[in-house]
C-alpha cells in the first residue's frame, strides 16, 4: 500500500493540480479510463468545495489531498480546516455530483475540519488472489 499526499493553498487554480495527481494515480493502479474520469471529476469537486470553505472562512491554510492505493481500493481523502456544522458554501451541487458518481463516499465533520472520503474498488479480493497465484513462481 502506498500513499501520496498533496498539500495545496486554497486557490481555485490548484484544483486542477489535485485532479491531475488523482487521475494519474488512478491510471497507475489500473483503473479504466471511464473510472479515471470519475476520479478526476469527483476529486475536483471535493477540492473545489474545500477551497470554497477556506475562502469563506478567510483561511490560508492548505487543503490536504491524501491518496492511498491498497491492494483492493483507491481511497482519496480531501481534508479542509472548516468548522464542524458550518453551512455548505455551494448549496449542494458539488457534493451532489460526488455522491452521484462515487458509490463509497463519506463526508465527515470533526473539530479539526472536514473530510470527504471517496473509495474506488481496484481489484476484488478474488481477483487479487488470482493475480497473486498467476504471478507466483512455480
Amino acid at each position: 500500500m502506498a500513499t501520496v499526499e498533496l498539500r495545496f493553498s486554497p486557490l481555485t487554480s490548484h484544483v486542477r493540480t489535485a485532479r491531475i495527481v488523482a487521475a494519474s494515480l488512478a491510471r497507475q493502479v489500473g483503473l479504466g479510463e471511464e473510472t479515471v474520469d470519475e476520479v478526476r471529476l469527483a476529486v475536483g469537486e471535493a477540492c473545489a468545495r474545500a477551497v470554497a470553505i477556506h475562502e469563506a472562512l478567510g483561511l490560508e491554510t492548505p487543503i490536504v489531498l491524501k491518496i492511498d492505493d491498497g491492494p483492493y481500493t483507491l481511497a482519496v481523502d480531501v481534508c479542509d480546516c472548516g468548522e464542524a456544522g458550518a453551512p455548505e458554501p455551494h448549496p449542494g451541487l458539488g457534493l451532489a455530483v460526488v455522491t452521484g458518481l462515487v458509490d463509497d463516499v463519506v463526508v465527515e465533520r470533526g473539530p479539526g475540519g472536514n473530510h470527504v472520503r471517496m473509495v474506488w474498488p481496484v481489484l476484488t479480493p478474488i481477483e487479487a488472489h488470482r493475480e497473486e497465484l498467476a504471478t507466483r513462481p512455480v
Binding site: T12, A23, L41, G94
Partner: protein
Amino acid sequence: MRAVSHRDPTGMPESLSGGDIAAEERKGTLVDLSLETRTVGDRTVLAVAGEIDVYTAPKLREQIVALVDEGRYDLIIDMSAVDFLDSTGLGVLVGGLKRVRAHDGALALVCAEERILKIFRITGLTKVFPIHATVDEAVATAG
C-alpha cells in the same frame, strides 16, 4: 521551469504549466480555456475549448454576460472541444440560460462526448438544456 502549453487528447497533460498560466493571465486569456465567438444568422455561436472548472468558469461567465449585454439572446455554446466540465461550469451554463430567458432568448449546447455529458445526466440537467451533437444540428433546430 520551462513553460509548456498543450492539452493532450485525454485532457490531462502530465506537465503542470504554471508559468505559462501566469504569462497568459497577464495577456488576459487563460491557457486552460479559450473562447471564440461567431454569428450564424441571428444566432451567436460561442466556441469553448479546454477545461471549464472552478478556476476557468468565471471567464466563461464573463463572456456570456458580455454577449447578453450586447443584445445577443440566442446563444449556441459549442463544447465540442471541451475536455473537462465541473459543477461550477454547469452553474455558469445555468446562469447563462437564465440570463437569455429573461430576454425571451434561448441557449443551446453542442456536446457529443459522453464523459462531458455524464455530469449533465448526474445532475438531471439534460432535461434543462437542448443538447445537440453538432453546431449544424443546433443551428438547424429552432431556439
